[in-house]
């Protein structure tokens, strides 16, 4: 019985450490904010459909991190126009905001953090075949996401992270 317990605990430990390794990898990739953002379409009522290309050695990790990357892009980088679809400037024009409010954004982008409120996977959740690309030894995965830009803007204004349009510049 003791032997069985030992095996069970060892297996649990191995599974846990493997999952935390994968999580660490994902976080490391996210910390580097390696992604590309492109606009797909203008959605309804202040939403935007964007495709975020994330990089990772593991395809599943890249998919997981796509949502964080997309919100990060909308806040700090903006999206350029594509064809007849207009672009979306960054919600902040302060290039140092992320550093200045590091504590806030660490919480905001934590796993299951507030960022989740403003993003959802577009379509049926599947990745299109042309959006799953192996480049060298890593994967470049494109996920189409619907971003509630208006909601995100209002929330960041309410918490004082960005100025409201009515407050003047």
């Amino acid at each position: 019985m003791k032997k069985l317990n030992f095996i069970f605990i060892t297996l649990l430990f191995v599974a846990f450490s493997a999952s935390s390794q994968s999580r660490k990898k994902a976080d490391k990739d996210t910390e580097e904010w390696r992604y590309e953002l492109e606009v797909v379409q203008q959605g309804h009522e202040g939403s935007y459909l964007v495709k975020v290309w994330s990089y990772s050695k593991k395809a599943n990790v890249a998919i997981e991190q796509a949502k964080k990357n997309a919100i990060h892009g909308i806040i700090f980088r903006g999206v350029s126009a594509s064809g007849r679809v207009p672009g979306q400037p960054a919600l902040t024009n302060n290039p140092n905001l992320e550093m200045e409010k590091q504590e806030f954004f660490d919480d905001f982008f934590a796993d299951g953090g507030k960022y989740m409120k403003f993003v959802q996977v577009s379509g049926d959740g599947s990745v299109a075949a042309e959006d799953r690309l192996k480049v060298g030894k890593e994967y470049k995965i494109g996920v189409v996401l619907s971003i509630n830009v208006e909601g995100l803007r209002n929330d960041l204004q309410a918490t004082g992270m960005i100025k409201s349009l009515s407050s003047g510049f």
């Binding site: 379409q41 959605g43 309804h44 299109a128 799953r132 192996k134």
Partner: protein, 628 residues
């Protein structure tokens, strides 16, 4: 702001050009999406009543699920096709290379000549199809409505949801509709010859007769066991040219809708449409034979009532030919034409599901390759094969996609680990294969073995419940040859000693032939390994030409043969090297029954020999399996 009709047309067709450009940039390198192609079936004017009857059969023949069938009234092309060049006979091997080059050149010339001839006469048919596609009314007005319906039906869940979430959902569907127009295919069949089986047998006999004269061997006529028809036919698959230049040209000159009210302008456009020269490009051409036959022995039908086998009339057999012709065209087209290959990404990994189903005409055990998109050093996207899948559970998705369409389940049968988003693409197999190997521990069915196999679900191509249970089932024809020099271990040593002969004086050879049913079963995630239980039976013979009968007292060599039936069962384990080649080992039992000596041996003295043949052995086999 009110737009004039000319401006509206300009807007529609300019947007189509932009959509065209977008899609050609996105999908220029590797096609990753499937849009339902449409097929219009046409024929070269028949040369005989029988051929005309075969063509008539196409009218009621359903098209495979992944295609839209666009039928037309004027489906006969009044042209004459010159005979297709035949491969020259290679009498002088030194001149073979040149002969092949000449053949290829003449084939290309023939292709060009036929293509030119058909393209010229297919244009009116294109006009009729185009008119149907754009719901052209008697007053010349056209609309996208019908095509948009087809686009809605063709749209995947992702496309439907994307359109729903988009501010300009109409653009999404227009893009799909435009892709459907671009995938308008026209098939032209030409039956070169039609023969009854009697004529077929006559031709074979004539060839055999000529051969027998050449080889100075006696002529043996072919047994005439079948009745029915055999045809030799060509097919030509054309694709409508619908590029930016054509879209612009057609939009400017021939597109007409209710927004154009000026009678002079309308008349001009109607005339332009009537005279419009639709362009086509040859996508594929080929030739094949098709047969519809049955046994001509009335006895077969007397005892076959239980299985509902009825003797068909010659006309009924004739009616079976269109289906065979279409199968050939769809299969070959599916291998060569990118638009014919249904494809979708993996939706879920465990179990593997893909959003394809009855709408696309999936059948159980249909083979798909899985590809990963890879960016090469030059930045080009290429697809690399990662695995093989076969359909294991078919979802009914024959509805307009809303975002919640069910997905079909697939079973991986070899390759690497597959992830969500990897491309699943149809690569149908012939369903045939063979294996070569060696068997030990039973000399009667062992030695060098060869088997031919046919995958049963491939014959029926069914999506019904019964077909689900036929998955992975094979019908095999097996044969073995075991030349046992010095007669070792044919019979038990004891028997030979009792019979008073020295075993090592005889060269026996064992031959067996039989049939079996086997089933591939997969038990690992990647499916590189598979189990294959098999059950079967057949006949075996063991014979020697130089048997010295110890009982007759003469030193005279005679022929000795033992014959019998066997029943065997085995369990095999296979490993896929590639989708085509696998290695297998199998072991099981073989029960030999009712062996008998040939008549010229006094069996009474050798009754003990049979005991050594009868009974159960435990043979093992190993070999390579090839599937196509």
């Amino acid at each position: 702001m009110k737009h004039s009709s000319k401006q509206i047309n300009k807007i529609i067709f300019t947007s189509l050009v932009i959509i065209n450009l977008f899609y050609s940039v996105t999908f220029a390198q590797v096609q990753t999406k499937f849009f339902r192609p449409s097929i219009t079936t046409t024929f070269i004017k028949p040369a005989s009543n029988e051929i005309a009857k075969v063509y008539e059969g196409f009218a009621t023949l359903p098209m495979e699920g992944r295609f839209d069938n666009r039928s037309v009234n004027s489906n006969m092309l009044n042209i004459t096709i010159p005979p297709r060049p035949e491969m020259p006979k290679m009498e002088n091997p030194l001149g073979a290379k040149r002969a092949i080059e000449d053949y290829k050149r003449s084939l290309k010339d023939w292709d060009n000549a036929v293509s030119k001839s058909i393209s010229g006469s297919i244009s009116p048919i294109g006009k009729e199809v185009f008119g149907n596609m754009f719901s052209r009314t008697s007053d010349g007005n056209m609309s996208w409505d019908k095509l948009m319906e087809a686009a809605n039906y063709s749209a995947t869940d992702n496309q439907a949801l994307s359109a729903k979430e988009s501010k300009n959902s109409a653009n999404e569907m227009e893009a799909i509709a435009n892709e459907l127009v671009k995938r308008s295919y026209y098939v032209v069949y030409n039956i070169k010859s039609i023969k009854t089986y009697e004529q077929v047998y006559n031709d074979i006999d004539a060839s055999l007769k000529a051969l027998s004269i050449k080889t100075k061997k006696p002529f043996k006529p072919t047994p005439r066991t079948q009745e029915g028809w055999q045809i030799d036919f060509n097919y030509f698959i054309y694709k409508l040219v619908w590029d930016d230049a054509t879209v612009n040209d057609f939009g400017d000159k021939a597109w007409l809708d209710a927004s154009t009210t000026d009678p002079a302008e309308r008349a001009k456009k109607i005339t332009a449409f009537e005279n419009y020269e639709f362009k086509f490009e040859l996508a594929l051409s080929g030739g094949s034979t098709a047969n519809a036959s049955q046994s001509n022995n009335p006895e077969v039908y007397k005892n076959a009532k239980f299985f509902k086998i009825v003797r068909k009339s010659m006309d009924q057999l004739l009616a079976e030919l269109p289906s065979s012709m279409q199968d050939v065209m769809v299969f070959k087209g599916g291998r060569e034409i990118e638009d014919f290959k249904m494809r979708a990404p993996i939706f879920q990994e465990k179990p593997i599901t893909v959003k394809l189903g009855t709408k696309e005409g999936l059948y159980y055990d249909e083979r798909f390759f899985v590809y990963e998109m890879e960016q090469d050093k030059e930045g080009k996207t290429v697809k690399k094969r990662r695995g093989v899948l076969r359909t294991s559970n078919i979802a009914d998705n024959s509805m307009i996609a809303t975002g919640t369409s069910p997905a079909s389940k697939f079973r991986q049968q070899g390759g690497k680990k597959l992830y969500q988003g990897t491309l699943v693409e149809l690569y149908e197999d012939y369903g045939y294969g063979f294996s070569i190997g060696y068997g030990l521990l039973d000399n009667f069915i062992g030695g060098a073995t060869v088997s031919a196999e046919v995958r049963i679900p491939r014959l029926f191509k069914g999506s019904g419940k019964i077909n689900k249970y036929l998955r992975g089932l094979y019908l095999n024809v097996n044969a073995s040859y075991n030349p046992l020099m010095m007669g070792k271990k044919i019979f038990d040593d004891k028997v030979f000693i009792e019979a008073g002969v020295e075993q090592d004086k005889y060269d026996f050879q064992c031959i067996s032939y039989g049939g079996s049913l086997s089933r591939e079963t997969y038990f690992t995630r990647k499916g590189n390994l598979y189990l294959m239980p098999e059950i079967g039976g057949g006949l075996f013979t063991a014979s020697t030409e130089d048997y010295n009968d110890p009982t007759d007292g003469e030193d005279k060599k005679e022929k000795l043969t033992a014959e019998g039936i066997y029943v065997n069962g085995s369990l095999g384990l296979g490993y896929h090297f590639t989708p085509m080649i696998s290695f297998f080992v199998k072991g099981g039992f073989c029960m030999k029954l009712a062996p008998s000596w040939d008549a010229d041996i006094d069996t009474k003295n050798y009754s003990k020999d049979f005991k050594t043949i009868e009974g159960i052995s435990i043979p093992v086999f190993a070999g390579l399996r090839f599937r196509f």
